[in-house]
């Protein structure tokens, strides 16, 4: 397939692997930020083709995985309200809340719809004027512009029965939280290509500088990932810590200004609780005051009691790169995709699910 097969070329993969083998003199631990990258590394079998000296740890960039239990409970509560349609991206449905998942709420009669675009939720609100339509707006900077646009669109067309439950999270504060952790062992980052398509490169320069850590903005196909890894290792081997752009076919230094403007129009930066990691200051987006009528939390006066995470789930350590899924005593036993203890086992981009589905042949002794 055009524009895809080029990035899955076996010969190019071998060439990069050879160069990587040749250039790597010391053990390096790299983190790929985005769950889509984790998924691709495992699904393509790339993880077990890398030189032994290179350890990939899997970052917190899976929106399904980092959405806190409290927010999942909010979505489920909204879904159960009379005359309310809760719309969500597909893979949020299986994530366990403190009592049930959205999928279970749907089976119990709640009106939960899977959509591909928040703009469809606005159309649904127009088609159902006697119902409240809420879109569960999760995701990193990648999904935020479209979610913001749905609010602007609803506002401009006078749609009043639409609101969003914003649970947006931001990459740079999470990277800083990881790097300032005393247990941190990350030597370099593959930054998330799609996030940077929106946000550009600028916010990463101060992080690379402050923590003396190379950051390479990287795509998602096997050749992208290998090239990103190679660029990071070259920097590490030479003692450099620059921000580089592997994904230059999409990412520009300034990002997508129009998308950024739409986000700024609707959202304000807020603190956000990350599942398994905890509260990170200024790490999320909430609907701003100007658009408060589209904030589901205010519209439904949402105040749910705080809930504790499942203590048997080590997702926090996995998403901070401290442990691998195989090092969890519950991996594949008490915790499986059909009865997950935590979100990384649910989403197709979660590190645990990726390992479970694609790499039980990787169950080799761990370093």
């Amino acid at each position: 397939m055009k524009y895809l097969s080029e990035y899955r070329d076996p010969e190019l993969v071998q060439e990069y692997l050879g160069k990587l083998q040749e250039l790597t003199t010391r053990p390096w631990t790299l983190m790929e930020i985005c769950g889509g990258q984790t998924h691709s590394l495992v699904k393509n079998g790339l993880l077990n083709m890398l030189p032994d000296k290179i350890t990939m740890v899997h970052g917190p960039g899976c929106p399904v995985c980092v959405t806190s239990l409290g927010v999942i409970d909010e979505a489920i509560w909204l879904a159960h309200q009379p005359n309310t349609i809760l719309c969500s991206f597909g893979d949020m449905l299986r994530v366990p809340g403190s009592k049930e998942s959205l999928l279970e709420a749907k089976a119990a009669g709640a009106d939960v719809r899977i959509l591909y675009s928040p703009l469809e939720a606005v159309q649904l609100a127009v088609a159902n004027p006697d119902k409240e339509v809420v879109f569960f707006a999760v995701g990193f900077e990648t999904t935020a512009p479209a979610n913001a646009l749905s609010v602007v669109h609803a506002h401009k067309s006078g749609v009043k029965n639409y609101s969003i439950l914003a649970s947006h999270v931001l990459v740079p504060p999470a990277m800083e939280a990881l790097l300032s952790d005393p247990e941190n062992k990350i030597d370099g980052f593959l930054a998330a290509g799609h996030v940077c398509t929106i946000m550009g490169m600028e916010e990463y320069y101060p992080i690379a500088e402050k923590y003396r850590t190379p950051i390479v903005i990287t795509g998602f196909e096997p050749v992208d990932l290998l090239q990103g890894i190679l660029m990071t290792v070259i920097q590490l081997e030479q003692g450099e810590f620059k921000v580089e752009n592997q994904y230059s076919r999409y990412v520009q230094r300034e990002g997508n200004r129009m998308a950024q403007a739409t986000m700024q129009e609707v959202f304000t930066i807020s603190d956000r609780a990350w599942r398994g990691i905890g509260n990170i200051p200024a790490s999320g987006y909430e609907v701003n005051d100007q658009y408060r009528n589209y904030n589901a939390r205010l519209k439904f006066n949402l105040h749910l009691p705080a809930v504790a995470e499942n203590e048997n789930c080590i997702s926090g350590e996995i998403m901070r790169g401290l442990k691998k899924p195989f090092q969890c005593p519950n991996f594949g036993t008490a915790c499986k995709p059909e009865h997950p203890l935590g979100a990384p086992m649910v989403s197709s981009e979660g590190a645990c699910a990726a390992y479970y589905h694609y790499s039980s042949n990787l169950a080799a002794p761990l370093p």
Binding site: G36, K43, N44, G45, F89, D91, T143, P222, P337, S360
Partner: protein, 345 residues
């Protein structure tokens, strides 16, 4: 599609509860709709059941059809209801002969939609060479169904030379797929509410019985296993094989045939074609010595032009399906958990 019969004309526009009462309305619905279109010497008796003679070893199968939407690019629930049960019997090495046909209609179903589906059933049954010999029609209240559900059961005579059973599978046996995968599932997906996307993907639903029977007739015991990888796709069938035989399956990604626009649609929606439902293809596990002529014969059939050998049964990694990825890596292909859900980004 060329219809082999005129559409039945009803003197009412929608199905009502009265059409399921067993009274006059039921009689009129059946007479105009079912008997006039599908009529044959068995249905003509209007008896509670059909009686007939059959010789030899028999195969019997049943399937229910709840597809949404009921019309999709390349077919309808009517085509599926015939082809589904016909193919299940074909996978047993049988030539299907007689089918039952039961409808559960939802009050409010438009009669012209019902007419079209009856016509599709007639066309599909004629192509497959099967007769509808008994049936039933019920009507449920609005909201208790999804326009209409269909159940068909079928019976056929197993080819005397067939020995299709997973117990016959041995290491070294070859895995052959009869055509492009994931086509039907993506055709349905392209017209689902909320997911519509512009494409010319058309369902490949078709009766495979003639193709399969010819192969069974020629290759007999060399064919160890046949399955139509419907729900759960190719990945699920191969996992079943691995589990039942306690052997492994080695799959080669670059050999798995997927039509380009189907692959593009899967990429776009974040779905893996190995898990997408199929209708018009089958998966065969055959002994190594007949693999080449089997594949050759299949490719010469109009329903097998895209056939390919995609893997081999192995003693390594028992109970697991391992795929060599396009870039030369390897990964496990596991069972699907729940439904394949679209990804966020």
């Amino acid at each position: 599609m060329q219809l082999s019969c005129p559409l039945p004309k009803f003197d009412f526009d929608v199905i009502t509860l009265g059409h399921g009462s067993g009274g006059l309305l039921t009689h009129r619905l059946l007479q105009k709709g079912v008997f006039d279109i599908l009529g044959n010497e068995f249905l003509g008796q209007q008896h509670d059941g059909a009686s007939f003679h059959m010789d030899g070893k028999l195969a019997f199968s049943t399937d229910s059809f709840v597809v949404h939407p009921i019309f999709f690019p390349g077919g309808s629930i009517g085509d599926l209801a015939i082809n589904g049960t016909v193919n299940d019997l074909a996978m047993c090495g049988a030539q299907p002969q007689y089918l039952s046909l039961s409808f559960i209609l939802e009050e409010g179903l438009k009669t012209d939609e019902f007419s079209q589906i009856l016509a599709d059933i007639k066309t599909a049954a004629d192509k497959a060479g099967v007769k509808i010999v008994t049936g039933d029609t019920k009507v449920v209240e609005k909201g208790k169904g999804d326009k209409l559900f269909i159940n068909t059961s079928g019976i056929g005579t197993v080819h005397p030379g067939a020995a299709i059973h997973h117990q016959h599978i041995r290491p070294g046996d070859r895995v052959i797929i009869s055509g492009n995968i994931a086509t039907h599932g993506m055709a349905i997906m392209s017209v689902r509410e909320g997911l519509e996307f512009e494409t010319s993907i058309i369902s490949d639903t078709v009766a495979l019985n003639h193709t399969v029977y010819t192969l069974v007739n020629r290759f007999g015991k060399g064919i160890k296993f046949l399955r139509d990888p419907t729900r759960g796709g190719v990945a699920s069938v191969l996992n079943e094989v691995a589990e039942l035989t306690e052997l492994g399956v080695d799959l080669v990604q670059s050999r798995v045939p997927v039509e380009e626009q189907v692959e593009a649609a899967c990429e776009m929606l974040g779905l893996d074609p190995l898990y997408v439902a199929n209708e018009g293809i089958f998966l065969a596990i055959v002994s190594e010595d007949i693999a080449a002529p089997f594949l050759q014969a299949l490719k010469e059939d109009e329903l097998g032009v895209n056939a390919a050998e995609i893997g081999v049964v192995s003693v390594n990694h028992p109970r697991k399906v391992i795929m060599e990825s396009r870039i030369g890596g390897s990964r496990v292909v596991s069972y699907l958990t729940g439904e394949q859900l679209p990804r966020i980004c």
